[in-house]
Subunit: 218 residues, 2 copies
DNA sequence: CTTGCGCCGTACCGTACGGTACGGTACCGT
DNA sequence: ACGGTACCGTACCGTACGGTACGGCGCAAG
């Protein structure tokens, strides 16, 4: 809301127009966006502070001033990504009435979020990284949040162990598609694949949910 | 079988005693074992040809003579790992009578193979690597083989789409455990976790399999 | 106008890596 | 006994990276 009153001359926002940000926030956002972009373009190995600075047309000094070191930059980029994709999980949930519809929509959203190019790049480094502590951060900021949302859904379904069911459901819809994508397979019609993945997961899970229903009123 | 007759003086096998190998094969095996070990110890980023050479007490020249370059070494190590873990998938399958028992045993074996330390290290680099072509190789040499075995099992169950069911099942038993492990979570009682994971996957899947049975004889 | 701050661009330093070259040595086949 | 081959150890080269330093510029505050 409060656009800093002392700086009316909004700095050229560069690539993404973000209203109501202090110039400092705008710069930070720009740097983090380019961090994700470079990560996506160059991969984990080739990712370098130099490349980020060049891509963002900033100086390395600025990078280090804002984020301390490479670890700090990667952490900030991960957290930013988490904030950006979080709302995606809730898209279209209001218009889903059936429990099954809600699960289907949740599954769709989850997979679409997972397979965003920048999200994939982040998953790659979170998986492979062993020196910047990105793995635990990813687990906390991204995985855990998603599980919590799905868990709430299964809790409303009256499952004995909603947490476990949520994890199984997410595993089902990922199936081996996730692994294939992470391993670099180029597949066409990703949306269709996602749809089929979620559909079949629900086909397999439906009888189980029915048994829950039957046992519940009894 | 045929131990090369011209070289009776078996070279000091170093770390692993492997009978009936030509010295060249023994050296290759030693180098690849140390490759996996260094990969496991140092991670993907810090992994270096120097470290492998030092660990194996070999010279870099030898490494390059045998494997060409870093990519070749990593490829060879991956293929070797694939060969080593392949038989693990079939452990105890003979004594499993029920279809469900077979699925359970298969699931156990699969997860145990996945979570071997060296296998984890390989998965990490296969996921993150974008320059050595390890992803597709991993998919072909490891993932694809495992899926095929499980697929055969579901085919025997009379599923409409055994391939898809196999992938869903593997996804279920991995659940979020796989992701947590890959992200560096330290968890105790891995065996217990695996057991619970497989158990619950079968609980969820059992009603679905029953519907298949019911539809089948009718 | 002066001061200070944040930024840019570039240069710089130390280190580490991939890959090659070379001297020296053990062993094998002839 | 001789030549070839594979090996070790080490040194070397070019490159690239993380991180720092410095000069110069724009801009806002006093």
């Amino acid at each position: 809301m409060a656009a800093s009153p002392t700086t009316p001359s909004e700095r050229a926002a560069g690539d993404l127009a973000r209203p109501s940000e202090t110039p400092d926030e705008a710069l930070r956002a720009r740097l983090l966006d380019h961090t994700l972009r470079v990560l996506l373009r160059d991969g984990y190995r080739r990712f370098s502070m130099n490349a980020v600075a060049t891509s963002a047309r900033a100086s390395k000094e600025t990078l280090y001033r804002h984020f301390g070191d490479k670890t700090g930059l990667l952490h900030a980029a991960l957290v930013r990504m988490a904030v950006l994709i979080d709302p995606l999980l809730h898209v279209g949930l209001d218009s889903a009435t059936t429990r099954e519809d809600r699960l289907r929509q949740l599954g769709r959203n989850y997979l679409h979020g997972c397979y965003l190019p920048e999200a994939l790049a982040l998953q790659r480094i979170a998986y492979a990284d062993g020196e910047h502590g990105l793995g635990p951060l990813f687990a906390e900021e991204i995985t855990e949040r998603a599980i919590a949302v799905v868990e709430a859904e299964f809790e409303a379904l009256g499952c004995d162990d909603p947490r476990r069911d949520a994890e199984v459901y997410l595993g089902m819809i990922q199936g081996k598609l996730h692994e294939r994508i992470m391993l670099g397979a180029e597949l066409d019609d990703l949306d269709g694949q996602i749809e089929r993945q979620v559909d079949h997961a629900l086909v397999v899970m439906a009888p189980y949910l029915t048994t829950l229903d039957e046992r519940r009123p009894g």
